[in-house]
Symmetry: C2
Subunit: 214 residues, 2 copies
């Protein structure tokens, strides 16, 4: 069974997964889509559709067995694929991502961060290694890295991207506010933190406008 | 003219804005939707629709005057609303956001970060202030803060959210992987960095699967 799952659904799955794991720890056994929707402030129909896409184990009345649903979502998210990532750019954002605990929860191992400063001495941070960028080729080939995360300044991002691609990385998560030129076989996901905050600010302005007019 | 703009369009506007500003700096005067689409790897029709929603200044053949288009997008994004935000949680992620330059580009001022450790001494970081959380009420009322950013651990997030709401914050950008309970008048946008990385990993697996089958 291989259904196509939309990016919107994919974006919601980790939230379900997190909530289900909390429930399981609390000793709960079954859960309905309606309850999940209610708890996460989501649309009932949407949650039901999402879950039906990833799991065939839901039953009328009892809903889903939490343990099965967790394993179905993990499977769908590729948990256990063994993806390994490196970060280029060991500034504040890079280090925040290096030590962010949320990634292992989804089965992705951030192996190390690299600083573009070649004179930098190797160091560790919360048990994770930070190397000078010279070590990138060795780490990429030894650890079979397939994901690269770019947190350097805009002006250095293309160079960082080239280095990742040259060392066999197939997917790039780009935090630098520039468009990266990559070969066709490489995936790029651009992350713009400014844009997330702008959306919230815009929604707030809309809400205040509506409240004033009503 | 007040059209409803979808979150998907809102999410793309900052990317247009960034690209247009780069063009303007290089001395360009006009731009077509097609050129923007091509440069940012987006769908032509989508970009044309997005721009038509935010600006009436596009003309056949010449396209948009870059200066006007920038100002229309800024207006649409609420640039100049004077939104001011604080961060609760001065760990690595909090400090990365505090010093992230991309926010001022969209007219949002991150005023200060607060650490939940009450014994912490006040300090500064790249010119931005980091206070103990005791100072939150004073800063919120003096600087009219309307946005709060939560970067504390999951277990402290609800407490941080309560403090923000008590001090008049109307919108919360939540990086902690928990569902926050807030009054109806407060907006919450949850940011799950793990989920962004998972989506990239999933797309990579899909792509590799397709390549192997073809």
């Amino acid at each position: 069974m291989q259904k196509t799952i939309s990016p919107q659904t994919l974006r919601r799955l980790p939230a379900y997964l997190h909530y289900l794991r909390v429930l399981l720890k609390k000793g709960a056994v079954n859960i309905s889509a309606t309850m999940i929707a209610c708890e996460l402030n989501l649309n009932d129909v949407q949650v039901r559709k999402d879950l039906a896409l990833v799991s065939g184990s839901g039953r009328p009345k009892t809903g889903y067995e939490i343990k099965n649903l967790i394993s179905d979502i993990e499977h769908c998210l590729g948990y256990g694929n063994g993806d390994r990532a490196v970060i280029i750019g060991a500034g504040e954002l890079g280090c925040a991502l290096l030590t962010y605990e949320g990634f292992t929860e989804y089965g992705i191992d951030i192996v190390a961060a690299f600083d573009i400063d070649r004179s930098m001495k190797d160091t560790t941070m919360n048990g994770k290694q930070v190397f000078s960028v010279e070590k990138l080729p060795a780490v990429c080939s030894e650890r079979k890295i397939n994901i690269g995360i770019i947190t350097v300044e805009a002006k250095d991002a293309q160079k960082a991207s080239n280095m990742l691609v040259e060392n066999g990385v197939m997917a790039i998560w780009n935090f630098a506010p520039v468009h990266l030129a990559v070969p066709d076989h490489v995936l790029v996901q651009n992350e713009n933190l400014g844009s997330s905050l702008v959306i919230l600010s815009k929604q707030l302005a809309n809400k205040l406008g509506t409240d004033q007019n009503s």
